[in-house]
Symmetry: C2
Subunit: 137 residues, 2 copies
């Protein structure tokens, strides 16, 4: 793995740490303040521009954090741009997500996020378990 790939995956982890911790200040620092940003929350419309995107995070994080983490994150770097795809483990459920980062100085900043429902689950978590521990279909 290249240094860029490692750094972007670290930024991706920092994004979910800010989300989980309800840390609006960290969330704001993770998103680019210099290039156009956009965000599509699950089931919602398309937010464009830092004002709209950060207003959505203020709303989402106002009650504190969420039981969320990334799983099976995979990164591809295209020059000064990098895309991460991952599952989001949200409580007992899962979402599939796209996170787009751009290189800014020595680091990488979020410029776009989309998450949506998924019928699949991270393979590393194994099959879903029924109440008695039996695998679900």
């Amino acid at each position: 793995m290249t240094r860029d790939e490692t750094t972007v995956l670290f930024a991706n982890e920092a994004f979910y740490a800010a989300f989980a911790g309800g840390d609006l200040s960290a969330m704001g620092a993770l998103w680019s303040a210099t290039v156009a940003v956009s965000c599509i929350h699950p089931g919602r419309g398309i937010l464009r521009g830092r004002d709209e995107v950060m207003a959505s995070w203020r709303q989402i994080l106002k009650e504190g954090g969420a039981d969320i983490r990334a799983a099976e994150a995979s990164v591809t770097v295209h020059g000064d741009c990098a895309v991460v795809t991952c599952f989001e483990v949200l409580g007992d459920g899962f979402l599939a997500a796209t996170n787009l980062f751009v290189r800014e100085g020595a680091g990488w900043k979020l410029t776009h996020h989309q998450a949506g429902p998924t019928s699949e689950r991270p393979a590393a978590l194994g099959p879903a378990q029924g109440p008695g521990g039996a695998p679900l279909q």
Copy 2:
């Protein structure tokens, strides 16, 4: 609008034209064959690699095209990478989508696509109409 922005939006239109027309050959030519690609279809898992992604399009397009088009597409170019966000008008419904392109030679190729359900609709289409023509809530 810059030439890059125009060219990427044209590629985005070509993507939906191939989708609508059920044109698997055009779809294959639109996706990069040189860099890592990925795709998250609505409600589905994360497809990684050209083989998985193109297999999904073969499956989707095997019955022919779909009544689909893009609306309110917006592009941001980051060097050799460009992200388009848009609504997808799919029959009477809507999805929100992310399409990521990379510069290859004189053109731009798709490297990632995610679409998911959305509670919103393109503003240009006006409010939803009830059966009698009355606006829905």
